[in-house]
């Protein structure tokens, strides 16, 4: 798994690429939780995710729960068909806020660094 980190419209945007599995999900979890612990609303871009398993989904759930506890916005963007299939299987596709793109969430006024 590789990742990118950008900002847009006050959001931290974490882009995850490749496979998110038991080997790589601790890193995904750390990236997500660190942003939220810093008090930043966070979007996780899954458009480059080729594979995600239950440990990867657990990292997203943990982020969602922490965001909710802290009153921060949290969502998924550009969810790949592979990732969406797994979220559906977990019946989480209606739980996570899912957006087509970062722009869809942050609006036209957002800027990227």
């Amino acid at each position: 798994m590789s990742h990118t980190f950008t900002a847009a419209g006050g959001y931290a945007v974490i882009g995850l690429q490749g496979d998110i599995d038991l080997h790589s999900s601790p890193e995904a979890r750390r990236l997500i939780l660190e942003c939220l612990q810093d008090g930043r609303p966070t979007l996780v871009d899954l458009s480059g995710v080729a594979y995600i398993d239950s440990s990867g989904v657990a990292s997203l759930v943990e982020g969602f729960q922490l965001a909710r506890a802290r009153g921060l916005d949290f969502g998924l963007v550009g969810v790949s068909s592979t990732a969406l299939n797994v979220l559906r299987l977990a019946r989480l596709d209606k739980v996570f806020p899912i957006y087509g793109s970062v722009q869809e969430r942050v609006g036209q006024g957002a800027t990227s660094p």
């Binding site: 496979d19 599995d21 038991l22 080997h23 594979y51 398993d53 239950s54 440990s55 989904v57 657990a58 990292s59 759930v61 943990e62 969602f64 729960q65 592979t82 299939n85 797994v86 299987l89 977990a90 019946r91 739980v95």
Partner: protein, 143 residues
């Protein structure tokens, strides 16, 4: 004539090996005629079963995972051999999907995807031999 294709591999039970195991399942399922969505489901189910062994079977201790993939007349059979403490299907605990919490999804994924799941007897009575089957092949290229 019987289909004599089979795939097998034995690797250390480590998270870093999962990607290679997934690649083998993907190759075998594709070769046996599964369509892409079903291939990815199978990959997920086998990955979750391997994860269970690494996390809950060996619990961080060294061990091996032996994966064997066999053709069925209309489907695929996947056998996963480990040498961790014996478990039973009754010990498989998923979570209520209405609860929102991390974890507990792997068992749900496996049960949702596979048609048959059983622990087979092992010759030396050590470890486990998990057998999972998926029937009703959708041929690649089918709508």
């Amino acid at each position: 004539m019987a289909d004599e294709r089979s795939w097998s591999v034995c690797v250390p039970a480590e998270a870093s090996r999962l990607q290679a195991l997934r690649a083998l399942v993907r190759e075998a399922a594709t070769d046996l005629g599964f369509a892409v969505p079903a291939v990815e489901d199978l990959v997920l189910a086998v990955n979750e079963a391997c994860m269970n062994v690494i996390q809950h079977g060996y619990r961080g201790a060294a061990g091996t995972l032996e994966l064997q993939i066999l053709p069925l007349a209309a489907g695929i059979e996947i056998r996963l051999r480990d040498h961790a403490s014996p478990v039973s299907l009754q010990a498989w605990r998923g979570r209520d999907l209405r609860e929102l919490r991390p974890g507990g999804l792997g068992v749900h994924f496996i049960r949702s995807i596979m048609d048959e799941i059983a622990y087979l007897p092992v010759p030396d009575a050590t470890g486990n031999l998990l057998c999972m089957k998926k029937h009703c092949i959708a041929k690649a290229g089918d709508a």
